[in-house]
């Protein structure tokens, strides 16, 4: 057996044993430079040699422990490790082979030819072993690959003719008699007109169509399919549909949970009155007391308590009736009017026939009203302020507008910058905007909306009008998740 010239790592603490070995290795074709010598385990450094010859008993390690250390560095299936033992230690040599050494040589007893044969066979064996491992790994990868393919195997394979009528389905679909159905029954009703056009286009285009669709089974249960539709030949189509219902349901559940927690969070954030308002109101009460106006003080305390109570309760309510909302807003406006010594009046105008039926989320109008008072009226230098609250219906919607004849938005913003004012109001309005989009999701609608309009007369700003638009039938609408049921009733 021939040995390719290569390099070899010898781990041997005895100088004499090494020199003998070196001589033998040279005579069977190793270059002297290619024989690397290490005397103790702590110096062990593997640099890709083709063989490792290793004495097990070293100054800093002995027995199988040495082999284990070497194996852990060199690896099992790459380089043959041949153990060098004393003549009295063949039992241990067997152990070494079980652990992963390729072969052993008993020191002082082996000939040049045995050394050569041992090295050559070791090389061959370790090569075979490496191939085996490689094969095993490949098998494992193939297994993983097959498993992953199996998990995406389509649930349904459907072939349809050029009239889109179903000619073949690989297994029973939990839907009524498929004979009367076309391939379009596997597409959302709403999407069918578009889908029909797309399918027609398929005649000229080889690109398959991918889409997600919801179909109903006999019991009316939703089945979500992820489908790939393509042209099979000139006269037929093939639809491959995977049932992804569990995935869609899990995602929907997750979205609901996230919506719920966002709504809850926003409601908590919106259920806070501006600390300025609260402290100013307290100062007003203080003044009434100091002026010994008993009736006024009592009236003020009542109004203020009602306001506070409503705010506390609001954080747990999903919807308020218009009556509840107005009772809250008018108390709020009364307190502000008192604080600003009657600098403004307010009016409510309604053109809604059935005002009692109107419902709205709590604390959505309050920031508008506060904005009108603080930034609109508050920045007016004279009396004569007017806040108009108008509630009107328009088709499916109710529009509630809060208009002021204050200084207008631009001026108010300038003043705000100059004053380093705490921006509770703008934060509240921001929260309002977020709530609007959450409510649209909650009621699966687009009817909720807020707008702000700058009012001008002859090019001069004469105030601001803010609008809250909500569905007229909000009280009867079914939210996709209910706050009442869960978190609010803690």
């Amino acid at each position: 057996m021939r040995l390719e010239p290569s390099d070899i790592l010898v781990v041997e603490d005895s100088d004499v044993d090494f020199l003998v070995l070196q001589k033998m290795l040279c005579s069977i074709g190793f270059e002297k430079d290619a024989i690397h010598w290490i005397k103790q385990l702590s110096d062990f450094e593997f640099s890709g040699e083709s063989f490792v010859l290793c004495d097990l008993n070293l100054p800093d390690s002995n027995g199988l422990r040495t082999l284990k250390s070497v194996l852990s560095i060199v690896g099992f299936d790459r380089v043959p490790i041949i153990v060098l033992t004393g003549s009295d230690d063949e039992a241990r040599a067997d152990e070494a082979i079980k652990l992963g050494a390729q072969d052993y040589l008993v020191k002082g007893t082996f000939s040049q030819s045995l050394l050569q044969k041992t090295l050559a066979f070791s090389k061959q064996r370790s090569g075979l072993l490496a191939d085996l491992y490689k094969q095993e790994r490949a098998n494992q990868q193939l297994g993983n690959y097959l498993t992953s393919i199996l998990s995406t195997v389509p649930s349904y394979i459907i072939r349809a003719n050029e009239n889109l009528e179903i000619e073949y389905i690989n297994r029973v679909f939990p839907m009524l008699d498929l004979k009367d159905k076309t391939i379009l029954d596997f597409i959302n009703a709403a999407d069918r007109p578009v889908a029909e056009k797309m399918i027609r286009l398929l005649k000229y285009d080889d690109e398959p169509l991918y889409y997600q669709t919801e179909v109903k089974d006999e019991a009316g249960q939703s089945i979500w399919l992820y489908s790939r539709m393509s042209r099979l030949d000139d006269k037929s189509y093939v639809l491959i549909a995977t049932d992804i219902t569990p995935r869609v349901e899990a995602r929907a559940l997750l979205e609901k949970e996230s919506l719920k927690s966002q709504l809850f969070q926003m409601q908590q954030l919106s259920s806070q009155l501006n600390p300025h308002f609260v402290f100013n109101a307290m100062s007003s009460i203080q003044l009434s007391i100091l002026s010994q106006k008993e009736d006024e003080s009592l009236d003020f305390v009542s109004k203020f308590s009602l306001l506070m109570r409503t705010v506390l309760e609001n954080s747990r309510r999903e919807l308020l009736t218009w009556e509840e909302e107005w009772s809250f807003l008018s108390k709020y406006l009364d307190i502000e009017r008192h604080r600003l010594s009657g600098k403004f009046e307010y009016q409510l105008a309604s053109s809604v026939a059935d005002l009692e039926s109107i419902h709205l989320p709590p604390m959505m109008l309050q920031p508008f009203v506060e904005n009108a008072v603080v930034h609109g009226i508050g920045n007016r230098t004279d009396a004569g302020g007017l806040i108009q609250i108008k509630i009107e219906e328009k088709g499916e919607r109710v529009i509630i507008s809060v208009s002021d004849n204050g200084v207008g938005r631009r001026r108010a913003n300038q003043l705000k910058l100059m004053r380093h004012q705490n921006d509770h109001v703008s934060r509240a309005l921001e929260i309002n905007n977020k709530r609007i989009s959450l409510f649209n999701q909650l009621y699966q609608t687009k009817l909720f909306q807020v707008t702000t309009i700058d009012l001008y007369e002859n090019g001069k700003p004469i105030g601001t009008s803010q609008k809250l638009i909500i569905p007229k039938k909000l009280g009867q609408m079914e939210p996709i998740v209910s706050l009442d049921e869960t978190i609010l009733k803690d």
Partner: protein
């Protein structure tokens, strides 16, 4: 001692009236000689009446309370700020060791504030002190925020001013706090550490232990061994409470 002359500045009639009546009822030694509803009115009243003390609202339309001092570089009056709720403004006032009242005004606090004004007048704290305090206030004010560079610490005879960036750490000692500076000097202040905790947290200070609040910009490294400690720029080792470790490591990005 003579009557103290006072001027009230507040944009809201209610607040002016409340303070006036509270003063009449609880501080008979103070005479309110006028009240103004904005800074310009206040400037004229102050020039006319030369008051001993001005009760000054911070949040007013147009110019806010702080801007009164653009008209008085060297004020010869004491000032007590009044505010309903203005977190940063209060911090700015505290950094300058100025006095303030929260609205609705508590009459006990009002009495104390008046007593402090009287003490300060009797001690003869010159205009220089107020000028310096006002300067601290002014320089903490950037275009749209507050940035605190100096802090006024109470001392035996008034207040002293220090650069916040030169403070290495504040050490608690019961009701006192010791401030350690980067030039190895120390200043003992007769206020508990908790008084400064919220304030200095604005300036990258963190209470890393019950007894120490350190300026994070002076922290050289965090060492995990020995229960965890930080090394400051002067080489001192300050141990970190175990529940603060994560926070400290996060800030240091280790």
């Amino acid at each position: 001692m003579n009557q103290l002359k006072a001027i009230i500045v507040d944009d809201e009639a209610t607040n002016r009236e409340v303070l006036k009546r509270l003063i009449a009822k609880f501080c008979p030694e103070v005479e309110v000689v006028g009240s103004a509803q904005n800074v310009m009115e206040a400037v004229f009243l102050i020039r006319d009446h030369r008051p001993d003390v001005v009760f000054l609202d911070i949040e007013m339309p147009g110019e806010d309370g702080f801007s009164l001092f653009t008209h008085f570089e060297k004020p010869d009056f004491r000032v007590v700020f009044t505010t309903a709720h203005a977190d940063y403004a209060i911090k700015a006032i505290k950094f300058a060791a100025l006095d303030y009242l929260l609205k609705p005004v508590d009459f006990n606090e009002l009495k104390q504030a008046v007593a402090k004004v009287r003490d300060s007048i009797q001690r003869g704290d010159g205009n220089n002190l107020l000028e310096k305090q006002i300067n601290v206030l002014k320089e903490s004010r950037t275009a749209d925020n507050f940035d605190f560079k100096r802090i006024a610490l109470p001392s035996a005879d008034g207040v002293e001013f220090y650069n916040v960036s030169k403070i290495l750490r504040c050490e608690a000692a019961r009701a006192y706090s010791t401030f350690h500076f980067d030039d190895e000097t120390k200043v003992l202040v007769s206020k508990p550490l908790s008084e400064f905790e919220k304030l200095l947290s604005e300036c990258n200070f963190i209470r890393i232990h019950k007894s120490n609040m350190v300026n994070m910009t002076h922290v050289v490294k965090f060492v995990k061994s020995d229960g965890g400690y930080v090394v400051l720029s002067d080489g001192s080792h300050i141990s970190v409470a175990s529940r603060r470790k994560n926070e400290v490591m996060q800030i240091l990005g280790t």
